[in-house]
């Protein structure tokens, strides 16, 4: 009996390792980079820099986890960079004209909700491609930001309580990092322990099967877009709260903002644009790898343009690698694992 249990645990362990191979390899890569970093730069491993790195990563990580949901159901959201901009602009405008922090946050969360809803409804009921819809909403929101601000930054007196969200520490960790961990915890539980998470997964791998098994496919898809926009909103609030002022992005037009980093992080983490693949941990680790590299490169004197080039190459390599090892073994494992889990409970 004991032997049986032992082999059972061993099997589960092997299954687990195989299932999370991609995530583990990213983690190994991060550890490797961290280990060799003292050879390259003495500053990288300093406590201050590490906390700063975590803080910088948290904005991308939150957005990447949101992007993961949309990519999981086979969609894409190019509008999150613009959402972050709109959220930043609206919150600074409201705060400087005297609204309280709570009212402002409630307001921008509602805005995020509406953006996600519009994207989702257009994709599902409008029968449009996610790529077209979100490129359009991106372009409209970018336009709105530019017309409102005329490209100039907005600043003014912002309540202390709002700035604290971006600058305070809880224990030794900056607030954005703590919020990232909370978001990660919630999304992880959502994906691994709830019916909703299972439905997202099934909808991503096969819409017809999902529909036939009684899922409201449209609702699931809309909810993914809403989740993505909401997480982008959080990321946007944290970004402006750090500075306490809003600076519109100058590289408007084209997909050149946060959406690229978020897509890159999710894809490095194993998500596939055809849907049904990847994990929340993958998106988080992908963002962390991205953050480590963008923190380390300037320290070892890599020019920022060269850095962009390397990041582009990393994306291509990650996608090629994902295509190579995706030979459906992973899906089978996940399914069988899920099945055994259900039987055991």
């Amino acid at each position: 009996m004991a032997l049986q249990k032992n082999t059972f645990i061993k099997d589960k362990l092997i299954l687990g390792i195989k299932e999370y191979m991609n995530e583990l390899s990213i983690a190994a890569l991060i550890v490797l980079i961290t280990c060799i970093s003292p050879l390259l730069s003495s500053v990288f491993l300093a406590g201050d820099n590490l906390l700063n790195l975590l803080r910088q990563t948290s904005y991308t990580a939150i957005a990447a986890m949101g992007m993961y949901f949309v990519i999981l159901i086979g969609g894409i959201d190019l509008s999150i960079g613009a959402t972050i901009q709109v959220v930043g602009m609206v919150s600074i405008m409201m705060l400087t004209s005297g609204y309280s922090t709570v009212t402002t946050i409630v307001c921008v969360v509602l805005i995020g909700l509406v953006i996600g809803l519009v994207n989702g409804v257009l994709v599902t009921f409008g029968k449009l491609q996610p790529f077209v819809v979100t490129l359009v909403t991106k372009s409209i929101m970018d336009g709105i930001v530019l017309v409102t601000t005329d490209g100039a930054s907005i600043s003014g007196k912002v309540p202390e309580s709002f700035v604290k969200i971006g600058t305070e520490y809880i224990g030794i960790f900056p607030v954005p990092v703590v919020i990232t961990m909370i978001v990660f915890g919630i999304t992880f539980i959502l994906m691994s322990r709830t019916t909703y998470g299972r439905r997202l997964f099934v909808t991503g791998s096969n819409k017809v099967a999902s529909y036939n098994s009684g899922t409201n496919v449209r609702l699931i898809q809309i909810s993914a877009y809403i989740l993505c926009a909401l997480l982008a909103t959080i990321s946007g609030v944290l970004t402006v709260a750090r500075i306490g002022a809003f600076q519109p992005s100058t590289t408007h037009g084209g997909a050149t903002g946060m959406e690229l980093n978020a897509i890159a992080a999710a894809v490095i983490g194993g998500a596939s644009l055809s849907g049904g693949k990847g994990s929340v941990i993958g998106a988080l680790f992908g963002a962390l790898l991205y953050g480590v590299l963008s923190n380390l490169f300037p320290l070892i004197g890599v020019n920022s343009y060269l850095q962009q080039l390397i990041q582009g190459v990393i994306i291509i390599v990650a996608v090629i690698a994902a295509g190579r090892n995706s030979s459906s073994s992973k899906i089978k494992l996940r399914k069988s694992n899920g099945g055994s889990h259900e039987y055991s409970t």
Binding site: G126, L128, V133, V147, T251, Y305, G312, I316
Partner: protein
């Protein structure tokens, strides 16, 4: 009786409405001078849109066009500043477009990467290359007039740009509708498996189409360099969006297999006239993405509604 299809006539209706609207709004709109200007300034968009139309017809997407354009702009500006012969610049430009297009095509066909991700990657890489090439700022100096003449010149008092647009569209039309390659492009877009069964070399067709798109984008970059006279690394942002807008308005399907060169031309005219009208009426250029976005959305919605009506038998709920 044949059923009336709004989506087929949509772009023409838009064009007519816009011209009527324009003639009411501005006195200078309905002049030969204004129209030749509209076409003269749409050369870059025309080149990229033709490439994008081909890519969309085979069911792909090319996000890298804006960055390829930027890279070839700075390279050709650098060469022109160094006094290199225009023919040599043209060859270098074509080589750049060919290389990036071939990389896109190979990534998509040989490594089975989604077109979206592959071209997103090359888009980032090429944009970074552009900035690395110039070191961040624009390349300025005195560019030879002979190089600037490629777009600013006139033949029989007609600007060169108009000839370029006409030649490109006629050529693309002939290739798509009169050659074997053109039929293969449609076949691949209609269904890869079927095309393969009928003996079409799907991978070769795809690679060729991405190469064409790359070369056209690079040529557009060279024209921009000649037009503005400097090598601006920030040029070409959002061009992929403009090209997609032109194609969608012109009735090219985003899911592949459908679209014509004539449609693309009408789409180009619609988008260029809107831009022209907004300029004539002094509307903030920042508002243009909003207008373009709304137009693409409305057109795409109308087309998808009709598609939906056609295949009622399929599962509608999903």
């Amino acid at each position: 009786m044949k059923k009336f299809e709004l989506s087929k006539l949509l772009s023409i209706i838009m064009l007519v409405v816009l011209i009527l609207l324009g003639s009411q709004l501005s006195d200078s709109f309905l002049s030969v001078r204004n129209f030749s200007n509209i076409i003269q300034y749409s050369v870059e968009t025309a080149l990229i849109s033709i490439g994008m139309a081909l890519v969309l017809i085979i069911g792909g997407i090319d996000l890298s066009v804006g960055s390829v354009l930027a890279f070839s702009t700075v390279v050709s500006a650098k060469l022109a500043l160094a006094g290199v012969n225009t023919a040599v610049i043209l060859i270098v430009t074509i080589v750049i477009g060919f290389t990036v297009g071939a990389i896109n095509g190979l990534l998509i066909t040989k490594t089975k990467v989604e077109a979206f991700m592959a071209t997103l990657g090359t888009m980032m890489v090429m944009r970074a290359c552009t900035f690395l090439f110039t070191g961040g700022g624009p390349l300025t100096g005195s560019i030879k007039t002979s190089f600037q003449q490629i777009i600013k010149g006139k033949f029989l008092n007609v600007q060169y740009g108009i000839f370029y647009v006409i030649i490109m569209f006629v050529l693309a039309g002939i290739i798509l509708s009169r050659t074997r390659f053109g039929r293969h492009v449609y076949a691949v877009g209609g269904g890869e498996e079927t095309a393969k069964l009928f003996g079409v070399q799907v991978d070769k067709v795809k690679i060729a189409v991405y190469i064409i798109s790359g070369i056209l984008a690079a040529l557009a970059g060279m024209i921009i360099a000649a037009r503005i006279g400097i090598g601006e690394p920030r040029s070409g942002y959002g061009y992929e969006m403009i090209a997609i807008t032109v194609c969608v308005v012109g009735g090219v399907s985003m899911t592949g297999g459908k679209g014509t060169v004539t449609g693309t031309f009408i789409g180009l005219m619609v988008i260029s006239i809107i831009k022209n009208l907004m300029n004539l009426m002094n509307i903030d250029t920042n508002a243009q993405p909003i207008v373009n976005g709304i137009i693409i959305l409305i057109v795409a919605l109308i087309i998808s509604r009709e598609m939906l009506g056609k295949r009622k038998s399929l599962v509608k709920q999903i």
